[in-house]
């Protein structure tokens, strides 16, 4: 039942939402409207990627291309009490809440922002800090030629903007909560987020994506990150969308000398999710760590795609993704590492490990190393295995019931990567999520 997603599918999609684009254009600055139009034209030309496109072979977009979404869908009504269960509680002092991609000021709180830190919505930033937005927009690696970056640009209306002055440090983590909530028609939203960190700035951003509805929705997010010299960004994302949701997230990070981007992604929800991260290690000794823990069951497709560009010498990248797949779920891991001729003494390590709980579950791993310097240390690996029978028997022989024994072994498998998360409260959240997942589908 594959729907042929030809370039014309891109045009048709744009036509369907022409009204929404006209509404966006009204009152927008000419530069912004020009940028959106360029995005629309690029998407019209590219269309939705199909399994014939490079980078999308394992990730068919069934149900998305023909989906009938609503750009300005009204959310089902809910208040603060409803979101209690999906926030991180005390660890986040500052929280922006977005419903269907639009900031909900009444649900958000900004209490403890340290000096030199600005956190505002994309829509607010367009009004109050247009030059900051204009300078940052569209500059991240990985966006050029990407169909979903183009689609996002065509409709970008809101998102979060985090600006850190040189040396600014956010003590408390900054939490961004994304809620998908359809009422009549499934919503689609295209958040555009910008993080600009001056030299030596430090921040932790926690993102939580949840669905407070049963039905489908489509989240097409682009996050652009620029880290100045020695800046550090810890970026922790929990993707727990509803079971029918489409979650396509593209993050591009550009790092100056000595900067550090530390990303952790937990993907558990959505019928189709793709978390794609591009990192350009532009300055000497820039480093990134991209870790992930993913869970899939039923017919879920869970895609993690990373592209790391070692531009300068002595840069390092470390990646560890671990996933547990049950039912007929498909995991996809694509990891490209490029080492430019000048980037001597770089260190690139990449590992994807999958645990398959059913014989219908599958993992597609596609590492790609492109190394043009000679003095480098690069490694990659991929493993796929089942739960160890002997370990399972050992636990059961001590009285531990089979389901509990399986849960212990799955948690043990994921522990290695969960332990890499610095925030204790976040680790607890993840452990709880995994335990809940192991207890079975809701």
């Amino acid at each position: 039942m594959a729907v042929a997603a030809t370039p014309s599918a891109g045009g048709a999609y744009l036509e369907r939402y022409a009204d929404a684009r006209r509404r966006l254009a009204a009152g927008s600055a000419p530069w912004l409207e020009g940028w959106r139009r360029a995005g629309a034209e690029a998407f019209r030309g590219a269309g939705f990627p199909t399994i014939k496109n490079e980078g999308w072979r394992f990730t068919p977009l069934y149900g998305l291309v023909e989906g009938d979404f609503s750009v300005d869908a009204p959310a089902a009504p809910f208040d603060q009490s409803r979101i209690k269960g999906v926030t991180f509680g005390r660890e986040a002092g500052n929280r922006l809440v977005f419903v269907n991609g639009r900031l909900r000021g009444d649900l958000s709180s900004l209490k403890q922002l340290s000096p030199g830190i600005e956190l505002l919505s994309f829509a607010e930033a367009l009004a109050s800090r247009p030059r900051l937005v204009e300078a940052a927009l569209g500059t991240a690696p990985g966006l050029a030629g990407h169909p979903f970056a183009a689609l996002n640009a065509a409709f970008a209306a809101d998102g979060y903007v985090l600006h850190l002055a040189p040396g600014a440090r956010s003590e408390a983590p900054i939490e961004i909560l994304w809620i998908g909530s359809g009422a009549d028609k499934p919503p689609v939203y295209h958040p555009r987020n910008l993080v600009v960190a001056g030299n030596g700035a430090h921040a932790t951003v926690i993102e939580h994506h949840v669905g407070l509805c049963i039905g489908a929705y489509f989240s097409d997010t682009v996050t652009e990150i620029a880290l100045g010299e020695g800046a550090v960004l810890r970026h922790c994302k929990v993707q727990d969308e509803s079971r029918e949701a489409f979650h396509l997230a593209l993050t591009g990070a550009r790092l100056a000398a000595g900067a550090h981007y530390d990303s952790f992604v937990h993907s558990a929800g959505g019928r189709l999710s793709r978390n794609e991260i591009h990192v350009a290690l532009e300055g000497r000794r820039a480093q990134c760590r991209l870790n992930g823990a993913y869970l899939g069951r039923g017919e879920q497709i869970v895609d993690h795609t990373t592209v790391i560009d070692h531009v300068s010498p002595e840069t390092s990248s470390k990646e560890l993704y671990k996933g547990v797949l049950d039912g007929r779920a498909r995991g996809v891991f694509q990891g490209r590492i490029t080492v430019r001729p000048n980037a001597q003494k770089t260190d690139g390590q990449q590992m994807n490990r999958a645990l398959l709980l059913s014989d219908k579950a599958e993992i597609a791993s596609k590492p790609e190393l492109e190394i043009s310097a000679d003095d480098v240390k690069c490694s990659h690996g991929a493993t796929a295995g089942e739960l160890d029978d002997v370990s399972l028997f050992y636990l059961r022989s001590r009285g531990i019931p089979e389901a509990e024994a399986r849960r212990l072994l799955v948690e043990a498998f994921l522990n290695e990567v969960i332990d890499s998360v610095a925030l204790a409260g976040m680790r607890l959240t993840l452990e709880r999520n995994i335990a809940r997942w192991m207890a079975g589908p809701a």
């Binding site: 028997f393 050992y394 022989s397 019931p401 024994a405 212990l408 072994l409 043990a412």
Partner: protein, 249 residues
Amino acid sequence: MLEIKDLHATVDGKEILRGLSLSIKAGEVHAIMGPNGSGKSTLSYVLAGRDGYAVTKGEVLYRGKNLLAMEPEVRAAEGVFLAFQYPVEIPGVSNTTFLKHALNAVRKHRGESELDAMQFVKLLRETMKKLGMSEEMLKRAVNVGFSGGEKKRNEVLQMALLKPAFAVLDETDSGLDIDALKVVSDGVNSLRAPDRAMLVITHYQRLLDYIVPDHVHVLAKGRIVRSGDKSLALELEKSGYAAFAKEAA
């Protein structure tokens, strides 16, 4: 307590146990000795319920119930314990977590309240102290990076915590120095009680100086070929297994 009647079992289609019968009463300690490959571990796995060990004939009654029909965790909760010849390493699961899950699962089955973290740690510390074990072993993953002796002590620790009614010790003595052997034997002896029974599988007579058995059996080619009292172990030590192997053929 345990009644094994004409037990036949195959592994990978190969018959390993070929008509084994054994009766163990509460309060008794039985020893099984036998050459490598005679089926000692196979017997212990069949009793513990490991997959892939197919019983083709015979039965095992534990306290009058059909043991072979029970899942491995039910056997454990009902009081059957196997100290593995080769304890399993489980990376990522801390030894403390493992022990707590095991103890609470068994307590729950017995209708006892589960221990909270504090109560559990207290009990664990006391038990380890008695066994002369270092607490450092608790932080590590189950059996990962443990020496051979530490693994065996960890088996005895599990046994001491779970307090089984019927324990099988599969070559728990092999590879142990004298000090470790004493610790293991003390652990076993402290569990001896009129309402408990044990099956001690060993290759060496040495262990039986510390754990004095009521009965000794010789296993050869999947069958018990001789039974006697503890003097049989001494006799074996002198004459070796060769004579018995012939009897079994």
